[in-house]
């Protein structure tokens, strides 16, 4: 009867109920996301100083962005490298940490809390704490290094170490990811391990053949979520480095912020934001497409 063209009553009711259930989200999406994004899209084709009127200038902003703006390149590079530096570490370290925390040893509860803590704190205070922590002169890390005779680098203030320092801050929060992996690990049926053990598989083989494949859906979830977050990095640049030194940490959203709220260049800033959005969407789509090769769904 379905193939007759007209939907059955059941299906129509289902569709209606589905829409009804979704309605809060649709309403919220429209007002709190769709309208701002459309507004940004519109603004990206204009020149606007906030205090003045909005002037339509077509593709000017985009042309400038791609041909005449060295800072754009700095921002794209800084953000790109940040994603590349932090993401692999976060994924691998998160998994390793989860494997450790998964052990059935007494007191693991406390360790879990301790490692989750960094993910829980955020905001300006944490950034300030890191400024101190990594201060070349009085900071804890360099003092410790001095004890063992190493002269520590300039961290946030060194051209080559600024970006890795910010990446380090992000990796410090790896406990949050570990929790998600932990959950995934608990979900793998124990009998699979037992069967493998009986067949004589070593721990390592068990990891490669059972754990990892069954964990891939979780890994994908984390990869996507963390990649999106990495592209949106902002606070550290805002609070600590102000984009320096020499624009090495001039992250994209920080560029947006400066253009919009310091240089009163709202139109151009909107173009930057739209560009970032497109990049993130493309990256996510790419990852999803790639994931078809290595993600294993137990269906």
């Amino acid at each position: 009867m379905k193939f007759m063209g007209k939907k059955s009553k059941r299906e129509r009711t289902q569709a209606i109920e589905g829409y009804v259930a979704l309605s809060p989200w649709m309403f919220g999406f429209l007002f709190f996301y769709a309208i701002p994004i459309l507004a940004s899209l519109y603004l990206s084709f204009t020149q606007w100083t906030l205090v003045g009127s909005v002037k339509w200038i077509g593709f000017e902003n985009y042309i400038r962005m791609f041909t005449r703006d060295p800072v754009f390149i700095d921002a794209a590079t800084a953000t790109g490298f940040f994603v590349l530096y932090s993401l692999p570490f976060k994924l691998v370290l998160g998994l390793m940490l989860a494997l450790l925390l998964n052990m059935k040893l007494p007191g693991m509860n406390y360790f879990r809390t301790i490692f989750f803590l960094p993910a829980v704190i955020s905001g300006v205070a944490v950034s300030l704490m890191w400024i101190w922590f990594l201060q070349p002169d009085t900071g804890v890390v360099n003092t410790l290094l001095r004890y063992v005779g190493i002269s520590g680098p300039g961290w946030f203030w060194d051209i080559n170490w600024a970006l890795p320092s910010v990446a380090m801050m992000s990796i410090w929060k790896v406990g949050g990811a570990a929790i998600i992996y932990l959950a995934g690990l608990q979900n793998i049926p124990a009998h699979l391990y037992e069967a493998a053990a009986i067949d004589g598989a070593s721990k390592w083989q068990q990891f490669w053949r059972i754990t990892l494949p069954l964990l891939t859906p979780v890994l994908l979830f984390q990869l996507i979520i963390e990649m999106i977050d990495a592209f949106k990095i902002f606070t550290e640049a805002f609070v600590i480095t102000q984009g320096g030194p020499l624009n090495r940490t001039y992250f994209f959203l920080y560029y947006f912020y400066e253009e919009a709220f310091r240089n009163f260049n709202m139109g151009y800033a909107s173009a930057l934001a739209i560009f970032l959005l497109i990049v993130i969407m493309s990256a996510t789509a790419l990852v999803k497409w790639w994931s078809n090769r290595w993600v294993y769904y137990e269906n």
């Binding site: 289902q14 704190i121 929790i179 053990a197």
Partner: protein, 300 residues
Amino acid sequence: MKTETLASSRTQEIMDLHKARVGQRNRRALPKNILIYAFMTGLAFLFMLPIFWMASTSLKLPREVFAFPMEWLPSNPQWGNYEEAFSKFPLWRFMWNSTYMVVLSTIGQLISVPLIAYGFARFEFPGKNILFMLMLATLMVPTHIKFIPLYWMFQQLGLIGTYWPIILPEFFGHPFFIFLMTQYMRSIPKELDEAARLDGAGSFTILYLVILPLCKPVLAVIVVFSFLWNWNEFMAPLIFLDDFEEYPISVGLAFFQGRYSVEWHLFMAATLVSILPVLVLYFFAQRHLIGGLSAIGLKG
């Protein structure tokens, strides 16, 4: 009968073998375990170092903060710093405001997310996949873009200066939670739905009486994360609130950063206190959190 006994005795053999192996493993594992503990403790120490540093600073005198050479511990712990921080700004008041904001926001999520997830998980309708993708895409939107349009919107409604602009959006579902809960619901067998339908239950009755009670773990996840994120929310209260007395602690802490200088010892003291509620919540919710996330399956 015979096959059963055979099967059960075979099972028994396997179980015994397994137990023996575990026993062996446990005995051989002791030195390995100690190694693991040592490693974990070392790692934990490193992770906690920044926070230890905050605590140490919070107990120092202003001139000790930048002394040379650096001092690990204050010579004379100034517990009075905490009192001073609290008398400088109404921090208790700020934390109460934060609690209010967090509780209402979380309630908003708890009301909206199950409904929306139910729609995605159990119903078929044209455009469903596109809508799901759109929902995920909202995670990708940079936060700052929203503020000017939102400000204009809420100004038209006359709601600037209240907590509404901050809390209202929470009643429409955060994509992260929707995604999580959708996955979770997908793993609940449809047979339960169908059984209830045979008994005459409508779709929404099924949601609230059959499915939701089974969702306790993932609801716990939502509560914890919603609490965390809202507790730390800074931009929105800054933009939308008018009254000094009504600021949440996230904004309140910003007052410690003066234009000309920062009173570090007080600032650290205040920050540490502000972290406490979050920690306490996490500590108690820990059990549910792991249970909740694992039960989701995150498959498909």
